[in-house]
């Protein structure tokens, strides 16, 4: 009796697993046979990345410009020398062209008129260069870049300072130092990965619209098929596709363009899963109110276009006009791209506050759009669509 019961239960699980397997295989075949999926999911991001890298990363230091303020509290030979050298660095654009007071510089940082203020040593004996950045941006690409460049610079300054013992070292005020410097190649690579996964989610759910239009959803509902399993297999397929995107883009970035990746696998997996899921939720939401594929594509295109340029995929957000930055600050792609940079370039652990803030933003986007989508689907299920 007991044994029989157990067998029946096992059978149920087997059936469910078999259903999952068959649905997953079907999804896999559908994706492999869908030329559009290949083009937009694989070919397009690769081409886009290659174009951007070829155009912008040839001499990355020159292209990457960031505005800084320089404070020279009491000019001395050492500070004079550093001042002239920093002014000579093509990456830095010194605001107002000459040193300003510390108060003024801090005000600029606060107002985000400059990405960082560099405070030169007060005496030739003092060995510290201070870097003041805005707390909101301390994880931002510009701040990272400035500190990276200065770090290099300070090392050079040390060599120049004749004395054999290192004299200057860089100290940060209110920033946690990234251990690795951010090169434009790395920046773009991680941005492109984020973008293509985001687009995969936002565009990919067009399948759902198409299935509904063709009556396939209805057809499946006539069978005892478990729609939950169907959703699950669909999700698994999409995650697999995104993994292919990450691996492929990373390989091209590293092998062809010499990107430097320092990956923290745990952080990467968390960020990847949360990002991919929330962009899929966004696509699911689009599909819930789009009657036709054209309508869906329209919405997805607008959103992806906006995010592409407002979320710091190609250029750091700090380089964009100030009035746009608040928009960037609410977009999920901003945090997905940041998260991928943290986990793939800075090897960041998951415990960073800014990472969690980013995860929270993505989770909110994902949860809200998923719930809205579900409500819309439920409501429409009453008046059967044909």
């Amino acid at each position: 009796m007991c044994l029989l019961h157990l067998r029946a239960k096992n059978g149920g699980i087997n059936i469910k697993f078999n259903q999952f397997k068959m649905m997953f295989l079907a999804q896999l075949k559908l994706t492999l046979r869908e030329k559009q999926a290949w083009f937009w999911g694989i070919f397009f991001p690769v081409i886009l990345m290659v174009i951007f890298m070829v155009i912008f990363s040839g001499n990355s230091d020159e292209e990457f410009k960031t505005e800084v303020a320089i404070v020279d509290p009491s000019p001395n030979p050492a500070s004079e020398m550093m001042l002239s050298q920093i002014s000579g660095l093509p990456v830095f654009e010194v605001k107002s062209g000459k040193p300003v007071t510390r108060d003024k510089a801090e005000e600029w940082v606060k107002e985000q008129e400059v990405d960082a203020a560099i405070i030169l040593p007060e005496t030739a004996e003092e060995s510290s260069v201070f870097l003041v950045v805005n707390k909101e941006n301390e994880q931002g690409a510009a701040a990272q870049a400035v500190s990276g460049i200065l770090d290099k610079f300070v090392q050079q300054a040390n060599l120049l300072a004749a004395g054999a013992s290192p004299k200057y070292d860089l100290q940060y005020e209110s920033i946690t130092s990234g251990t690795n410097e951010l090169d434009y190649t790395d920046f773009l690579l991680t941005g492109m990965i984020a973008l293509s996964i985001a687009q995969g989610g936002m565009f990919g759910m067009v399948d759902l619209v198409e299935m509904r239009r063709k009556g396939l959803i209805k057809r499946l509902r006539m069978t005892p098929a478990n729609m939950g399993i169907f959703g699950l297999s669909d999700m698994a397929m999409r995650l697999l596709f995104s993994i292919v995107q990450i691996v492929l883009l990373s390989l091209i970035g590293v092998l062809v363009f010499g990107a430097n990746l320092y990956i923290n696998p745990f952080t990467l997996i968390i960020i990847f899963l949360i990002g991919a899921l929330s962009f899929n939720a966004l696509g699911y939401f689009f599909s819930s109110f789009s009657k036709t594929t054209e309508a869906y594509m329209g919405v997805a295109n607008i959103c992806s276009f906006l995010m592409m340029f407002l979320s710091g995929v190609f250029f750091p957000i700090e380089t964009m006009p100030e009035w746009i930055q608040p928009i960037s600050a609410v977009l999920p792609l901003t945090y997905f791209a940041d998260g991928l940079r943290e986990s793939m370039v800075y090897e960041a652990g998951i415990a960073t506050a800014s990472l969690w803030a980013g995860i929270a933003v993505m989770v909110i986007w994902g949860a809200v759009t998923f719930l809205l989508g579900s409500v819309l689907y439920k409501r429409k299920a009453i008046a059967a669509d044909r």
């Binding site: 869908e34 063709k214 209805k218 059967a384 044909r386």
Partner: protein, 309 residues
Amino acid sequence: MTVLEVRNLQKSFGSIKAVKDISFSVHAGEVFTIIGPNGAGKTTTLEMIEGLVSPDNGVIHFGDLDWNKHAVSIKKKIGVQPQSSAMFDLLTPEENLNLFASFYDDARPTEEILEIVSLTEHRKNHVKKLSGGQRQRLAIGLALISDPQIIFLDEPTTGLDPQARRNIWDIILHLKELGKTTILTTHYMEEAEKLSDRVCIVDQGNVITLDTPSALIEKLTDEREIRMSFLDGEKAAEDADRFSKELESVSKTEREGAALKIWASKPEETLLDLFKFTKENSYGVEQVSIREMSLEDVFIAFTGKEWRD
């Protein structure tokens, strides 16, 4: 034995009353055809029975199962080919069937279904590339994969050429041999007459009439229309007209030139009398026929409307 009973079904979409009052019951092993013009409410009726659309009113019983309590059991018992034959276009017939088979505990082997719907040859082509008839056969195959007792086919032959239509008829007759119950909708009177044990004519959301095809036709009238035309022209037709008017079973005649139409309640007797008359007068008969009454006439008689396919 009744396998499906439907009583007083009603369904409106906004202000459109798609189904006003439909009741019938279906017996085990029969082919039950619902026929009616576009927009009559056939698909809506089927979709309510299939559990896709909830009726505003009315009851649906599959034996002692109903949708509220036994949805999964019913889904396992029925096979559905919807009007829009929905399937995965980028998969092959074989893959579609295998996928659908995984939804059921005891599906039939895919090869067997491919054989029944004659798609073995095309089992490895993408569905996208199948012809309309092949596609339709696959849709029927998908309905059969779970080895269902009751099969719903919503316009399986619409838009197919006569050959493809005949293929589908063969499948339906084969299912009947296997003892399955089939509920079919169609626009083609000929098809309903040929395939069905019983026919349910619906129009504007109501059942007009329901019976075996022959009973429906018999019910209609016992008069038959005889047509005759003469080699010897109008003169002969005129004489024959005058003669037949005298006969007891003839109710009415119509003449146009050398062609004559005669309505008679005992057509065989009337014909005999007519031939006797033509032989005596040595008139040559060019053509003679008794027009068969069809379901089409039943439809016209009950609705007063012309039938359009």
